[in-house]
Symmetry: C2
Subunit: 390 residues, 2 copies
């Protein structure tokens, strides 16, 4: 009997513990077939559909037809993807050092980042469909598989994804994405945060139409910080969740504007956190680009433009070209092909506040990582002089 009472007591304790553990948590909400604009507290889509009523976004429901591939599920990649079909690529594991953001939670330490991201996002929004790949895209086999999924991974299997997002933290992975997208003619967006965590940028790359990563050294925001402090070995990069939040926000905003066709899509938008300065610009591709697929895409784009009736060209360009804004600020620096040809090196005349991230690779198809520096100490003038001598 004493044993029975002890068991009954333990049973009650366990039941209470379970109830506490479950807290207010019910089952996850059921999937929602059609997005509704109905204004009720239980409709997670009402605030988004209001954009349609206001005439800002013509067709928000269309978001459920798009497929986006995200390479790099870190501080930037993990943001806000709650309505789209998502392919996630990352080979990293969640560590406690990743806890300075709101996305990964301590109990996920040790899980792969793609799995942890899928778990968290699925819990928040069961309407998102996931395909996760826990590998490094830069190895030969994985790169081929990556190319295959980009080409065929859309909602309708066999069709390419709508957009690839680069949210990685190294040059090699960016160049792999660049190589794949040039070959496939795949539109992609790049994002990055500097080693010192106080600047970042996003960039839209339309193969053949805007400069790719091999056309010119990647552009970064000048941070006005003594670069020598960045160069010590064996120390990790700084990371500010605030800088990442801003960069992730402007990246996904640009994605929404691009996919849903509202506002002005930026080709390049920088963020200097120290001065609260946000330079924008656009850059045409380099006809002498070292990537042959980029040059091929440039030919295709030229033919496409030539084949279109004059009127259509204008209309199409209005959709995505970053026009001068209405505020009298002129920072967009469009380089014509003639200007580029006349230039003696591949570094165009950049607006103030934007500089190059790397020195140019030595005429090789695949530049090697050792030759790059995180943020060059050289001035733009010095770099241009160097390139003239190449």
């Amino acid at each position: 009997m004493a044993e029975l009472r002890r068991l009954q007591q333990r049973l009650r304790e366990l039941e209470e513990e379970l109830a506490r553990e479950r807290g207010g948590r019910g089952a996850p909400r059921p999937r929602i077939e059609a997005m509704s604009a109905e204004v009720t507290d239980s409709n997670p889509y009402s605030r988004l559909m209001a954009l349609k009523r206001m005439g800002i976004v013509q067709d928000y429901e269309k978001i459920r037809t798009f497929t986006v591939a995200v390479v790099g599920v870190g501080g930037v990649g993990i943001f806000f993807f709650y309505l789209i079909i998502l392919l996630l690529f990352d080979y990293d594991k969640v560590e406690l050092a990743n806890m300075n953001r709101l996305f990964f939670q301590p109990h996920q330490a040790g899980l792969s980042k793609v799995q942890a991201a899928e778990d968290t996002l699925r819990n928040i929004n069961p309407d998102v469909q996931f395909e996760v790949h826990n590998y490094n895209i830069t190895t030969l086999d994985n790169f081929e598989h990556f190319m295959d999924r980009i080409s065929n991974g859309a909602l309708e299997e066999g069709k390419p994804v709508d957009l690839v997002l680069s949210c990685v933290d190294n040059f090699e992975a960016r160049m792999a994405i660049n190589t794949a997208c040039n070959e496939l003619g795949q539109i992609w967006m790049e994002s990055g945060v500097s080693e010192n965590a106080v600047s970042g940028h996003i960039q839209l790359i339309i193969p053949g139409e805007s400069a790719c990563f091999a056309c010119a050294p990647p552009l970064v925001v000048a941070a006005n910080i003594d670069e020598k402090t960045l160069k010590r070995e064996g120390v990790c990069a700084a990371s500010l969740p605030t800088t990442m939040g801003v960069v992730a926000g402007i990246l996904v905003q640009n994605v929404l504007k691009y996919l849903l066709n509202f506002g002005t899509v930026s080709y390049y938008l920088g963020y200097n956190a120290m001065q609260d300065f946000f330079p924008t610009m656009a850059m045409k591709p380099n006809p002498q680009c070292s990537d042959q697929n980029c040059r091929k895409q440039q030919e295709i784009y030229k033919k496409k433009v030539a084949a279109q009736p004059k009127q259509e060209v204008t209309e199409q360009e209005e959709e995505i070209v970053h026009e001068d804004n209405d505020w009298g600020i002129e920072l967009v620096s469009e380089i014509s092909e003639d200007e580029l040809k006349a230039a003696s090196g591949p570094v165009p005349d950049l607006p103030e506040g934007i500089t190059v991230a790397y020195t140019i690779p030595n005429k090789e198809e695949n530049p090697v990582a050792e030759e790059t520096v995180a943020e060059s100490e050289e001035s733009l003038e010095e770099l241009m002089a160097k390139m003239r001598n190449l």
Copy 2:
């Protein structure tokens, strides 16, 4: 005996259920007494402390001495507060309609926002200390209690908090915070996102030194959207997590820059998501401000400046005044007191892209909410003409 076996069986089931329920979740990590810069995967502070090594932030550990009060735990208020002592004020409950962001989770529906926020943040970072108040600060009793906590709620009880953040979505709550901070001489930051979700702003208010909310109609970013689409009744405001993410990011970045004394702290920073335009400006207080405590703070500030040796004044101002950035952009519009006195109304000459959110209240100490409109359809010129006639 049958009963005993049944109980033993049930006990095993419950234990298994509890283990499943807890999943991979271990105990939360222990509190960390001293922030370390050690580069290990298990150190959640290594990425932040790197900022110190790089010379960007002199003393990041100091963050653990600051107390910040956040009013409004919504899309903006819930961001990134993982190292500070936090006072949270909100009277709302979590609804499924709040799920279009990454912070609240479906199982929290029905909980108070302050409780849900504390649970989530405590799980991510047990080093944050919380004090939560689930009430509306605008009622008489609550307002007094709010004032008391602002004045006494610092780490060292009896000292005022270091900063108040306004992350609310209505005029009445903003004016309540303004009234309290003017009376207490409490520095605060305001943030807001427009009804159409495609623009937002942050603002730093130092009583007596920069314009308060009663000095001039609150400033918002011009959105170039047909305002008529916003005016229908019974429909909810739009909400884009991307816009909220950017505004929250620039707000908390400004908080970090202000508290930890790095970079240039912005007095006003706007975000126009349609054009990717980020106007900045600064505005001095209005000597004819309708809030008597604002006028009193202006006198105190004047005396303080006059009493300081010339050199110290310059040094102090360099800490927080928004200087022209190095990029040749001039959007900061400092209004002198003479200019303000000479002006016939309280609306200063605003940089392009910034406009007023509300029409001016009719000479009352506490303007009533009915008299305000979310984003005026009137042009600045019309508004100024109106004010001249007041």
